[in-house]
């Protein structure tokens, strides 16, 4: 069996006195789509941000593609990676945010080309060609010259997905990608994500879209109070929950 793309063992994290994660175990295989669901404050976004080291976990072992996130092991000791090494790790993991976080001073095209040029050191024409391909893939080839403020929320989020894909990531993280969207714009973003899943991308998706989880995800994790309460095949789990907590949560969101 190959190494899993994401492997978390006993991940804990607290902000001051608030314990947000208390020992999360989770495995995402290559090519799998994993959905993290749970009530707000359950720690799912924090966990997602630990995967690309935007947050440092306090305890536990977190591996992406077999190597530790943010640390280097030497004998029995862990050493924190330096900035350049952390950046190199992050550049292989794409992330899509709830609030899009497109760079407002750059056009859609420039948003997509900046990281390949500055981080990977690729040549301008090459990145532009690739960016145009990606814009076409998310259905926005006519918006290359638009600034984010001139795009709708759904269009912005699709540019944000293209921006992440331009780095050719081996893993994509989605942090509630449709939560800030008007209801009628949710569909266009989910369509892009569905296509991405079909193309074999490994994805970890924090979402409240139960329909998407049921349809696209290979595995679902239900987090509450900082631990995984229940996990499994979403088509079974979301229909007939085993735990009382998940049943209670589902009755509220469905």
């Amino acid at each position: 069996m190959t190494t899993p793309m994401v492997e978390a063992r006993g991940i804990s994290k607290s902000f001051g006195t608030v314990q947000v994660l208390s020992g999360v175990d989770l495995t995402v295989e290559r090519g799998q789509v994993a959905c993290l669901i749970g009530p707000s404050g359950s720690g799912k976004s924090t966990f997602l941000r630990c995967i690309n080291h935007l947050e440092k976990h306090d305890a536990g072992e977190l591996r992406v593609d077999g190597s530790l996130v943010g640390y280097r092991q030497s004998g029995n000791k862990l050493y924190e990676l330096n900035e350049r090494q952390i950046c190199a790790e992050r550049s292989q993991i794409g992330m899509v945010f709830q609030r899009f976080n497109l760079f407002p001073h750059l056009t859609a095209l420039e948003n997509i080309t900046i990281a390949p040029q500055r981080v990977l050191g690729k040549k301008g024409p090459e990145t532009i060609r690739r960016a145009q391909e990606l814009l076409e893939r998310v259905g926005l080839s006519d918006k290359a010259a638009s600034y984010p403020s001139q795009l709708s929320g759904g269009q912005q989020q699709r540019v944000a997905i293209a921006r992440a894909l331009a780095m050719d990531p081996k893993l994509m993280l989605f942090d509630e990608p449709t939560s800030a969207l008007d209801p009628e714009l949710v569909g266009e973003v989910l369509d892009v994500m569905r296509d991405l899943a079909k193309s074999g991308m490994t994805m970890v998706v924090v979402t409240h879209e139960m329909g998407f989880a049921r349809e696209v995800a290979d595995v679902a994790y239900f987090l509450d109070e900082g631990v995984v309460q229940e996990w499994g095949n979403p088509r079974e789990m979301l229909v007939s929950p085993r735990t009382q907590r998940l049943a209670g949560f589902l009755s509220k969101v469905l």
Binding site: N52, L54, E83, R84, C87, A88, E89, R90, S91, Q92, I93, G94, M95, F97, R99, N101, L102, F103, P104, H105, L106, T107, I114, A115, R118, V119, Y147, P148, S149, Q150, A160, R163, A164, M167
Partner: protein, 310 residues
Amino acid sequence: MALVAVAAAMLINTLLSKVPTGLEECHQVLVNGHSHQVCASTMRWRFFWDVVGNYIFDASIFRGLWLTLELTVFAMAIGITLGVITAVMRMSPNRIVSSSAWLFTWFFRGTPVYVQILFWFNIAFLYPTIQFGLPFGPHFLTVNVLTLFTGFVAALTALGLNEGAYMSEIVRAGFKAVDEGQIEAAQALGMTRLQTMWRITLPQAMRVIIPPTGNELISMLKTSSLASAIAVTELLKSTSNIASRTFQTMQLLIVASLWYLTVTTVLSIGQFYVERHFAKGSSRSMPPTPLQRIKQDLRRMGFGNREVRS
């Protein structure tokens, strides 16, 4: 509205008024075959416009104006550079780096710029020479501080360092105004802290940084007149040199003021276009140019075509 119009009329009236000089001009007039002497006091512009006109394009004034512009531009360049560097240092996670930046701001913002100008002009009392070389070893280069710190260099150093302290705070406020999500997005793409600052944070911070920096530039233009105290013949000094020769103090102060106003006006217009450039992407449409705005204002004031009110 009417009040403003009255005030403007009064202002123009006094600016263009004439007053008696106190000197009399007499001439002979023949009335009924007899010759009479008629005398009248001569008049002059209250604001000495004729004298002002004589001096305003004087070569020595232009030399002074040029020196003022040089002082302003170079001091601002030093100030902005130092401001950006110290602002970045202030936000460093390294305590020593951040506190030395704080110390810089504390010192140069905490003393009057006039004192700093005098201080640098007299720095040779503290350090007559500066020697470059190995400690306890041979010196490669010895600089005579007295000749290095001429009035111009002293003024430039003082104004630049002082400005750096103020710009540091302005730049820092600009950085803080940028959404945290922007930094996260850049980090998630694998950009380093410095790349993120240079490519993502700074361009967005510019929108917040530019307006106060424009104020600082205009303020610097005027503060540079303090250099006249250490015999730098910038604009004010070049006018007062003439005034001390001809005793036309007020006339030459008006000359200086007119030039300061002219340059300030040009700078304000430039500031508008720089702001417009950095507003790109922040709103759906560009702000109107001054010309467009004047047209709008005139229309609002009732000039030009406007819809008729019932």
